[in-house]
């Protein structure tokens, strides 16, 4: 029994290595001096460490613009999706009205919408709106992509807040708005954070629309900029890895913040089966 557990642990550590290695290799490469990268030497651990790759990536033309564009589009879309999604979630979770079930189903179906297969109509639509080559086109699409998810997930979080709390506040003299603002909204905080992080990551990662709708280099988002790294960096893998690391950093920080929420979310969902 004992050896069985030990061997299971060993296997698990090997598996962990498989998952962690690319991240390690990204950071290790980003820290290596250029001459070590393009040598035939075998160095799993950097012999010497430098920050120059990060400086190169940071200073590459377009990086900062792309970073700014990505932040702008992602944050704008997520903010809108959270606000609109929360309004819908409150109605779906707290109120009873005709057609509620229909709206719930619509949200569920909208969440499964295959956006990748709607590339052509989206392109034509943005062309008609004269939004091609302009960031609002991306913000609008990312808003649409994340909205059903936000509404659906927030509805789950609102459901989790006991209605009694709101009722108690109303008994104590709060209006409906006051009860919402003083009781529900603060309790919803963690849910709002978790939902926005996931929505943000979606927008941050999006590639197909960013590639198709934007031609102007000054409007590129980070994924598209990074995908052109071979032209931007040549064989400068250190610079490419540093740029990738900078691209990963915000997501990693966000993931660590909501990590607990995420795992419990998965847990709660899975127990039902």
């Amino acid at each position: 029994m004992k050896t069985k557990k030990v061997s299971a642990n060993v296997v698990a550590l090997v598996v962990a290595l498989f998952f962690a290695f690319p991240t390690y290799w990204m950071v290790a490469t980003a820290l290596k001096p250029r001459k070590d990268l393009l040598s035939s030497g075998y160095d799993l651990v950097p012999f010497s460490v430098t920050g120059s790759n990060f400086a190169t990536a940071w200073a590459k033309p377009g990086f900062l613009t792309a970073l700014g564009n990505s932040l702008l589009v992602s944050l704008g879309a997520v903010l809108a999706a959270i606000v609109v999604g929360l309004l819908a979630a409150l109605a779906l979770s707290r109120m009873r009205f005709k057609g509620r079930k229909g709206f719930v189903m619509m949200m569920l179906v909208a969440q499964m919408a295959p956006f990748e297969a709607l590339l052509i109509p989206m392109f034509l639509m943005m062309r008609d709106l004269d939004l091609l080559d302009r960031l609002p086109a991306l913000a609008l699409i990312y808003f649409a992509v994340t909205l059903p998810f936000c509404a659906w997930t927030l509805r789950g979080f609102v459901n989790g807040i006991p209605l009694e709390l709101e009722e108690a506040a109303m008994v104590d003299g709060c209006g409906r708005w006051g009860a919402f603002r003083r009781v529900t909204l603060p309790l919803l905080g963690p849910g709002l954070v978790a939902t926005s992080v996931f929505a943000f990551v979606t927008a941050w990662n999006e590639f197909l629309f960013a590639l198709s709708l934007i031609n102007d280099q000054a409007k590129q988002t980070l994924p598209v900029w990074l995908s052109g790294f071979q032209s931007a960096f040549g064989t400068d893998w250190g610079g490419a890895m540093a740029a990738s690391a900078l691209f990963t950093l915000p997501v990693l920080v966000f993931f660590l913040i909501v990590q607990r929420k995420m795992v419990t979310g998965v847990t709660a969902g899975a127990v039902k089966g």
Binding site: M26, P114, L252, F255
Partner: protein, 329 residues
């Protein structure tokens, strides 16, 4: 996208343990003013408008466009030319389309099979190991899960680099000299294999986390009973774990199929569907026809084929999801 989608199945049921009272419809029944009665519709209006405009309309539009001849010429002149089923006969009569379609289905099937199987094995493994090791494994998987797609693709390109990639260097070091300067991207199949590995690597964490959560939810006494009956490990798996995990396993399999079929980012970023179109899948083909060549009508027909296939899977998935959440909608 994966990161967010992952919670589609997870978070919605987040509140399955929530007090019944908080369930929908539990609101105070105040037959109030007109405003009160209209309030839910007012709250839903922005979402409704956005969904109809930005999702509903494109779905209709893709269907309509697939029956039009719409190349750059027609587009710039604003002409509407109906061609009936011409776009469909064109793509369905093109052997290249079938090669791509079959390739996409096989690729999706393999990626789903490998990732779900590996996810299940890791989930079961996670129950057997010490807490410390489990945390290490979970953090490692979190790193893979969190890495942006483009960053991950770039890192994989570097690892698999012909000259200086660490993989070839390592293979040579352990004695496989033929891998010195070996090109992993010289054929479509090999390119897709590397891309598939990348997709599987990022897909497993969600699958493993979900299935692990499902596995620890299985009542302990069932295992004790199996132990008393003298069941072997395999018998216990067959009799206890498998039936308990099967519904969840089916759900995540459907989700994986939906996600992996649509993959564009990694395939495009890896080698732009090359070499020689050898790693082109349906989403890449749609992009090439529509955006690169401006054959919007033909590309829309490809999209409709994709939507139809995805819709079949989605209906299956949603039926199961709704059934599993009955009473909570």
């Amino acid at each position: 996208m994966t990161a967010v989608h992952t919670t589609d199945a997870a978070v919605p049921t987040n509140n399955s343990s929530a007090p019944r009272r908080a369930a929908p419809g539990g609101a105070p029944r105040r037959r109030g003013s007109t405003f009160d009665r209209l309030l839910p519709y007012l709250l839903l209006a922005p979402a409704l408008v956005a969904i109809l405009w930005l999702i509903g309309w494109p779905v209709l539009s893709v269907l309509v466009t697939s029956f039009r001849k719409l190349n750059l010429r027609e587009l710039t002149r604003g002409e509407v030319v109906w061609t009936g089923l011409d776009n469909y006969t064109e793509i369905l009569g093109d052997p290249a389309f079938w090669v791509i379609a079959v390739r996409t289905v096989v690729f999706t099937a393999l990626v789903v099979l490998v990732s779900v199987l590996a996810g299940l094995l890791i989930a079961l493994l996670m129950r057997q190991i010490s807490t410390g090791v489990r945390i290490v494994l979970q953090v490692a998987m979190l790193l893979a899960w969190a890495m942006p797609l483009l960053a991950a693709t770039t890192v994989y390109q570097w690892i698999f680099d012909q000259q200086y990639g660490i993989l070839n260097k390592t293979l040579v070091k352990v004695g496989f000299d033929s891998f010195a300067g070996y090109s992993w991207f010289s054929t479509g199949t090999s390119t897709l294999a590397v891309t598939g590995l990348l997709i599987v690597w990022q897909a497993i964490p969600f699958l493993a986390f979900s299935l692990y959560a499902g596995a620890i939810g299985i009542p302990k006494d069932q295992y004790e009973a199996a132990g008393i009956d003298g069941a072997s490990t395999w018998q216990t798996f067959r009799a206890v774990t498998w039936p308990e995990l099967k519904p969840l396993l089916l759900m995540v399999t459907f989700l994986s199929m939906l996600w992996d079929f649509k993959v564009f980012t990694q395939i495009w970023a890896m080698r732009k569907g090359g070499p020689d179109g050898g790693s082109t899948t349906l989403p890449v083909y749609q992009y090439l026809e529509g955006i690169s060549k401006s054959h919007f009508g033909v590309a829309a027909a490809v999209s409709v084929v994709m939507v139809a296939l995805l819709a079949l899977l989605t209906v299956q998935y949603l039926r199961r999801l709704v059934r599993s959440q009955e009473g909570e909608l």
